[in-house]
Symmetry: C2
Subunit: 329 residues, 2 copies
């Protein structure tokens, strides 16, 4: 029986249990993966804590991203074959599907081949991060080379992906991070400027870098009181994407800055892309092209084994990572 990660109550990382569960068969329009690597996401930490957009039905599996080979096909699956190397695209309900474990059944719509030159660990570190950045910056933000993009929590896998997406459009990438320890890694990842928010005034630095124009695209998973700061750092007519809710504090709406500058504050999740066939098709092509040309290159921070899943979650919560945290199976 495959080892599967589940939790029977919401809470800290200790609630994650490794269980031996019967192999399940894929239903219509589903495939089963023999999992080789799992990519961790903040969404899973929040889901485990009961603080995500979706509420778990206990006991619950979890996990959006895995790579592996297809070892069972449900009915009406035509685009994939047994043995195909694929990774999952997080376009499904985590309550209904969850990929942490040695085996996972997922909808075929949420499966894609990944380039042959990528390892299984790299293959599970592409869809969430690049599609999330693509959807906000390219599809909605209409990123152009004249743009100035401010990227907060830039050391996360999505943050780093946003730097790569920004640079591949020829635009200016300003990355922010709390501590100075991650500054060099962000410069190495392609950021034009790095603002260390523990030591520097974010809005002042953005204004200084941009000759007082401000950033016209801001990409933020934090929220909380920082949104007011981001609005101060925003250019006239800027768009601020809020794509997460990491801040424990409430998020005041920056009403006066929004009025004075005509700001757009845009709640955004990857579901806007995964639920739209046209956008998904464009997104997949964008990611394939970027991986092939080398403008997109997954950055793996650290690997854990399946036995170390609680450590892997704790490590994510410690915010030390600079890139994707992967669990090899």
């Amino acid at each position: 029986m495959p080892k599967i990660i589940r939790f029977h109550e919401t809470g800290d990382a200790d609630v994650l249990k490794i269980e031996d569960l019967p192999l399940t068969e894929p239903g219509e329009g589903e495939v089963r993966l023999k999992v080789e690597a799992i990519g961790l996401n903040r969404a899973e930490v929040m889901f485990r804590q009961g603080q995500y957009l979706e509420t778990p039905e206990l006991p619950s599996r979890l996990g959006y991203e895995a790579s592996g080979t297809i070892d069972a096909l449900g009915s009406n699956v035509t685009d994939f074959q047994m043995g195909d190397r694929v990774s999952t695209i997080p376009g499904f309900s985590m309550s209904a599907y969850g990929v942490y474990g040695e085996s996972a059944v997922v909808p075929v719509s949420a499966v894609a081949h990944y380039p042959e030159n990528l390892s299984a660990s790299e293959g599970t570190a592409i869809w969430m991060q690049y599609l999330t950045a693509f959807g906000a910056l390219i599809e909605i933000g209409q990123l152009k080379k004249e743009d100035v993009v401010a990227i907060t929590a830039a050391s996360s896998s999505v943050g780093l992906a946003a730097i790569q997406v920004t640079k591949s459009a020829g635009a200016l990438a300003i990355a922010t991070t709390r501590g100075a320890d991650k500054k060099q890694a962000l410069l190495d990842a392609g950021a034009d400027h790095v603002i260390v928010t523990n030591d520097e005034d974010l809005a002042e630095r953005v204004m200084s870098i941009t000759s007082d124009k401000g950033a016209n695209i801001i990409f933020d998973p934090v929220g909380g009181p920082m949104l007011e700061t981001l609005a101060t750092a925003a250019a006239v007519g800027a768009i601020i994407f809020e794509y997460g809710a990491l801040a424990p504090e409430a998020t005041p709406f920056p009403l006066f800055s929004s009025l004075a500058k005509g700001l757009t504050i845009r709640g955004y999740t990857l579901f806007e892309i995964t639920k739209d066939a046209d956008r998904m098709a464009r997104g997949k092509q964008y990611v394939y092209d970027g991986l092939q040309s080398g403008t997109l290159k997954p950055i793996i921070d650290r690997s854990f084994t399946l036995d170390e899943i609680t450590d892997a979650h704790r490590y994510m919560e410690s915010n030390q990572q600079k890139g994707k945290i992967v669990v090899t199976v």
Copy 2:
């Protein structure tokens, strides 16, 4: 010497003083109006209180909208002649220009002829309200007949204009008002549904009216805690315009609704239209066409005389009005 309204300190309506001041000459690109009527706006109350986007330089004139005849032309003014009947478009700094009084100098870019069949009172009750609604709903919101538009503070001149703009596009207009006393006036003004927020749950009613889809355009000058309610009443992918800051309370950002529904919350002021020549040209044409066809029809609530300016401001602050408050000169 013409009577001019000024204030020497910010504060309540009593700070407004009627002063005899020398007639001023228009400079380059300016014209002078012999004022016949003044249209009051909430912005002037906030400016007087020192709570507007712009800070007054004391002593300060105030006022965005007046109608009258041109009685002096500055240099380089070619589109207007002495004696032209015009009204002002609020596309200027209230600190630099202010139209409350018997005479006002304004930039020629902020002057437009108004249709001959309108009275001076009606002529000063068109630009702020219709261009504000046009800019948000038509230019940015891309209003279509399938849309459901929720309009808060709907009894204000801009609110009523938004109802007319919504109905002229064939879309559904849901108006909200605090007290039941204004319900009939809003129905008479064309609202398809009126929600009395003192008695009814705004979000529940919007969901009930829309078969649980929600409103996909929301037009709100209030902010404050109601923004959270409006986000609850919003459809997936909706846009919420915040075009004022009437609420005394802080405005929490509805982060979870925004993420779950992909909401756009858009700070907006008329300056986005008045500062953009193309948008202004489209806006003027839209207003002229609507006034001519009768889909747009200014609603005057009550008239005061210049001597009664403090009463007029107090009346606006009492929130009893259902339409434009006008001061005749």
